[in-house]
């Protein structure tokens, strides 16, 4: 009799439920959307009850097509870095302040003043930032003292779903490293950070390895979701961690690049990566004992979407195909045209919210085709700056390439040439996060022997080799991108004034 794993991916725009069988074959999936409330310029919140409603409806949907008694486990991938305050009964006291909310810059500054940028980076694996849970929680303490006083636990999206299913408060190591409050090396809540910020460690849930079975589906939850009562629930991990698994980065090295609206490069390692310029940051890997150093840029796919929707009139997918097609008609190097991909400021490698995008080096012979190519090159070169830091630590010269943005043929070629690496393209590009959650579920209950089943679930379909004759060109152009960014930094500041 077949056994199934139900994997939920709680993203920014909705929940996607996917059913995998014991061989890792994708059986069925369903999506339910929810809203983000964006207000006060850079505040962003979601209703936790919307998450739950979405999980109920997608669960019902996918389970209605199979024999539910064959469901072996439920597991989660979820958006990270949020702050959801719940009381001792698990009742939300406020809407969840999600990752992209930037209201707590004052708290970020206080963390830097009190503990220091480098110190927090060393302890948590991340720079102190308004993006993470701790600064958001400090904001709540400052501005919503009633909420703070009643808060028993601070949860991530998937943790709240796990609570709704099982009644237990847990998080996993991976999501814990997105709070700015977790000691990444010791894998415990950081005494020194929390003490200095005067936040009790008890506010954070018990952190466990991502494949841990944390409980079973309760009667109430079974009614709401149609998941059979008693089904084991595996804690799962943050979506970055799940993508790492789905990309097949399950042992040391194995670099991969995820290309969505934003984009990151990451590897698997046995210790956190601390680079001097703090360009990269590190998550606990969903495989216990490992880490995945990471570098995320803000506008990768969204640079391409902006560019194509600004200048073209077709459907987005057609436009992107056009951009790829036109870019192929321009020479490598785009005739000296350089695109800086900082449409929303930048995280890695620069960590500068005031950074801005631009086209540099135009001359009368610059063509539309050069512009198309330069956008792709600019994204790839910006990722390369961070990737170089990681590749310096591993022997690998292949990069797995996943995400919806990994489809364009010219884009793949350019990424391979700019990285100077073979690109490994798996069969499924956009299902990696769900697959990662399913892997955690399956391994967690012993249905899968180990994580290597990912190679069967998502085999490499295509290898793109770099053109070695372009190595020197892209080396110099990447250097020029760095210098251009640095030269323009003071100008970016003044443009805001």
């Amino acid at each position: 009799m077949k056994q199934y794993i139900l994997a939920h991916d709680l993203g920014t725009s909705g929940d996607k439920a996917t059913l995998f069988d014991e061989d890792g074959v994708l059986i069925r999936s369903a999506v339910a959307a929810y809203q983000t409330k964006v207000f006060n310029k850079n505040w962003a919140e979601q209703h936790p009850s919307d998450w739950w409603d979405a999980v109920c409806s997608t669960s019902r949907d996918v389970l209605s097509h199979v024999d539910r008694s064959q469901l072996a486990a439920v597991s989660f991938s979820g958006q990270m870095m949020a702050c959801l305050c719940v009381d001792a009964h698990g009742r939300p006291l406020h809407d969840a302040i999600i990752y992209c909310d930037q209201r707590s810059t004052e708290e970020e500054r206080r963390m830097i003043d009190r503990i220091g940028m480098k110190e927090i980076y060393r302890i948590t694996g991340h720079r102190p930032s308004a993006s993470y849970s701790l600064a958001k929680l400090m904001w709540v303490r400052e501005h919503l003292p009633d909420v703070y006083r009643s808060t028993a636990k601070v949860l991530q999206a998937k943790d709240y779903m796990n609570f709704m299913l099982t009644g237990g408060f847990f998080t996993d190591y991976n999501d814990a490293t997105g709070t700015n409050a977790f000691d990444i090396s010791k894998r415990v809540w950081s005494d020194s950070v929390l003490h200095e910020m005067d936040i009790p460690a008890a506010l954070f849930p018990c952190a466990v390895p991502s494949s841990t079975v944390i409980g079973r589906v309760s009667k109430d939850a079974a009614l709401a979701t149609t998941i059979p009562e008693g089904t084991p629930v595996v804690v799962g991990s943050g979506d970055g961690g799940c993508a790492t698994l789905g990309a097949g980065s399950i042992s040391l090295g194995k670099p991969y690049c995820y290309m969505g609206s934003s984009s990151w490069v990451s590897i698997t390692s046995d210790e956190p990566l601390f680079d001097d310029a703090m360009m990269t940051f590190t998550w606990a890997h969903p495989i216990d004992g490992l880490y995945h150093p990471c570098a995320t840029m803000q506008t990768a796919g969204s640079s391409l979407s902006w560019f194509s929707s600004t200048f073209m009139h077709g459907e987005e997918s057609e436009n992107l195909e056009q951009v790829n097609d036109r870019a192929a008609h321009a020479p490598a190097g785009a005739n000296g045209l350089l695109y800086l991909p900082y449409l929303l400021g930048e995280r890695s490698p620069w960590w500068n919210p005031k950074a801005k995008a631009g086209f540099i080096g135009m001359h009368v012979n610059t063509t539309w085709e050069d512009m198309c190519r330069s956008v792709i090159e600019g994204i790839a070169m910006n990722l390369r700056i961070s990737l170089e830091i990681m590749l310096a630590r591993v022997p690998d010269r292949t990069v797995r390439f996943i995400g919806g943005g990994a489809r364009g043929t010219t884009l793949r070629k350019v990424f391979s040439d700019v990285f100077g690496c073979d690109l490994l393209i798996p069969t499924l590009l956009t299902e990696a996060t769900s697959m990662g959650a399913a892997l955690l579920g399956g391994v967690g209950i012993g249905l899968y022997d180990d994580f290597s089943i990912v190679e069967k679930m998502n085999p490499i379909k295509e290898v793109v080799n770099p053109d070695v004759s372009l190595a020197d060109l892209y080396q110099r152009k990447t250097e020029t991108l760095k210098l251009a960014y640095q030269a323009l930094t003071p100008v970016f500041d003044r443009m805001d004034a």
Binding site: T310, G361, A487, L488
Partner: protein, 523 residues
């Protein structure tokens, strides 16, 4: 004899403008009204990234073609004079028989950077500026001629005369090899105040005085149409030919810029701000320059940017392909559709800057490796912002030039002309950014031909003098500056200037990452 002819026919002037893209012939009547016009295009030959040449035989065939066509239906006896405006700063080598030795290296060609640098080493640039009214630059004839000397010694040895475009056509028409003061002042070899070829510079460079044609006032009659030329062009043999001027100065006349209280802005492919003064203007940083004038004891201080309309044309061709397609469907001009978009974006284009250095730059930076850029892009920016930023960038660069002239500026309004000036949106932006009332005249689009016609008319005594041009011009449109906008752009200008400075070292590096086939590719 001239008077006899004019009794029978309307008195007309045939004015030719030998531009960069073609020869435009316009027949004017005595009142300055256009009777007929004809444009005969010719090609530029681009190579090696920065070389631009034209075949002088194409100039001559275009000239014949345009003349024959413009004369159709017109009695050739009514043409009392043929006169010229021409592209400047070229280098065409003629042999003893007056035959071209190869192509002309035209103004846009930047191959002679090394020669310009070498000149800078042997003469103080300020002294050079005091003599010629110009800084040393590969744009001018001198550096180009030295390039020929260094790289094509055979050509140089056979060269008997070095001439400008209009001079060559005048030679083919009349048999006399001459140039005029204005074109001579675009060679980097001419003494601006003495109006003679500079002995100092010729001595330093070892160029023989014999290579240079005698220079005469622009209104001088160079000769008469020969029998051969008459056969080739359809003109009457014996028709007087006035040498005319370089196009920078024909524009000055066409703008009615005849007194120290006048100023104009030419907004075409390139763009410049021009004045008429008694004394040359020496900007301490040598960012602007001086031409000799139509009236010999005047000079024309000027600051020229390379890619004004060219920047906007580039943008239309590469970034506004859908507007171009739509314009065809709607039967309107793409420019009109772009103008609407420009108006959708507020002053400052929502924080977006455009650097208009698509052809390197002359004034104010004199940097051949300068490049264009869009800076400050954010996700919120639309194409309207990009289009607006492009026009603003061009005009802000002109504002830098405008500010340089501040110490000698006496004008209370600015005459605008050239192809890009026919857009009201562009004209209003000029008024707002420069902070001065802008006016346009009835000869906005044909200013070079019109200016040359006036010069020709003076040459044959049809017009009493330069001031007469004002009787032939009248204001058609006025654009008042919006004080708030002017203050806003004044605040933006330093950021605009600093962003160029920030990128000045990056731009050189970008030449080295053009890509494998970048070098061989050319338009």
């Amino acid at each position: 004899m001239m008077a006899k002819r004019s009794r029978i026919f309307e008195r007309c002037i045939l004015s030719h403008n030998l531009g960069t893209t073609g020869d435009k012939a316009v027949i004017y009547n005595e009142q300055g009204h256009i009777v007929r016009s004809w444009l005969a295009p010719y090609a530029s030959i681009y190579s090696n990234g920065n070389r631009v040449e034209q075949d002088p035989n194409n100039w001559w065939s275009a000239f014949c073609d345009a003349t024959k066509n413009v004369l159709r239906g017109i009695n050739e006896k009514s043409i009392e004079v043929v006169t010229f405006s021409g592209q400047m700063m070229g280098c065409l080598c003629l042999d003893k028989a007056g035959e071209p030795i190869g192509n002309s290296i035209i103004w846009a060609d930047m191959r002679a950077e090394r020669e310009a640098k070498a000149l800078n080493d042997v003469i103080d640039e300020r002294q050079f500026f005091r003599i010629t009214g110009h800084r040393i630059s590969p744009s001018y004839t001198l550096a180009k001629l030295l390039w020929v000397k260094n790289n094509q010694p055979d050509v140089y040895r056979r060269t008997a005369k070095v001439v400008q475009a209009k001079d060559y056509i005048v030679f083919r028409l009349t048999g006399s090899i001459l140039t005029d003061y204005t074109d001579a002042s675009g060679t980097n070899m001419f003494n601006l105040s003495k109006r003679t070829w500079s002995k100092t510079l010729l001595a330093i460079t070892g160029i023989s005085r014999d290579l240079l044609p005698d220079a005469v006032p622009s209104t001088e009659i160079a000769g008469k149409v020969t029998m051969d030329a008459a056969a080739a062009t359809g003109l009457l043999p014996g028709t007087p030919v006035v040498i005319g001027s370089g196009d920078g100065l024909s524009t000055t006349v066409g703008a009615g810029c005849t007194t120290e209280q006048d100023a104009y802005l030419y907004f075409g492919s390139s763009s410049w701000i021009g004045l008429t003064k008694r004394e040359p203007y020496c900007d301490p940083a040598l960012r602007t320059f001086n031409w000799n004038h139509i009236v010999p004891d005047l000079v024309g201080p000027c600051g020229t940017m390379q890619a004004a309309g060219s920047s906007l044309d580039w943008m239309r061709e590469e970034m506004a392909r859908s507007e171009t397609a739509q314009a065809e469907v709607q039967g309107c001009k793409a420019q009109d559709l772009i103008d609407y978009e420009v108006l959708q974006s507020p002053p400052g284009a929502n924080g977006l800057l455009f650097l208009p250095y698509l052809l390197g730059e002359r004034s104010p930076y004199w940097s051949p490796s300068a490049k264009g850029a869009f800076l400050g892009l954010r996700k919120k920016h639309s194409r309207a912002d990009m289009f607006r930023a492009a026009v603003e960038g061009v005009v802000m660069n002109l504002k830098i030039i405008w500010n340089i002239f501040e110490p000698i500026m006496e004008a209370e309004e600015l005459v605008i002309l050239g192809g890009q000036a026919s857009s009201d949106v562009n004209a209003q932006l000029v008024a707002d950014i420069l902070g001065i009332r802008v006016v346009s005249h009835n000869h906005l689009r044909d200013s070079k031909n019109f200016g040359a016609a006036v010069v020709g008319g003076i040459g044959i005594g049809m017009y009493p003098g330069l001031d007469h041009v004002k009787n032939l011009l009248h204001v058609e449109k006025r654009f008042e500056p919006d004080g708030n906008n002017t203050r806003f752009y004044n605040r933006l200008l330093p950021v605009f200037e600093d962003s160029f400075t920030a990128l000045s070292r990056i731009n050189g590096r970008l030449d080295s990452v053009r890509g494998a086939c970048g070098e061989e590719e050319s338009v």
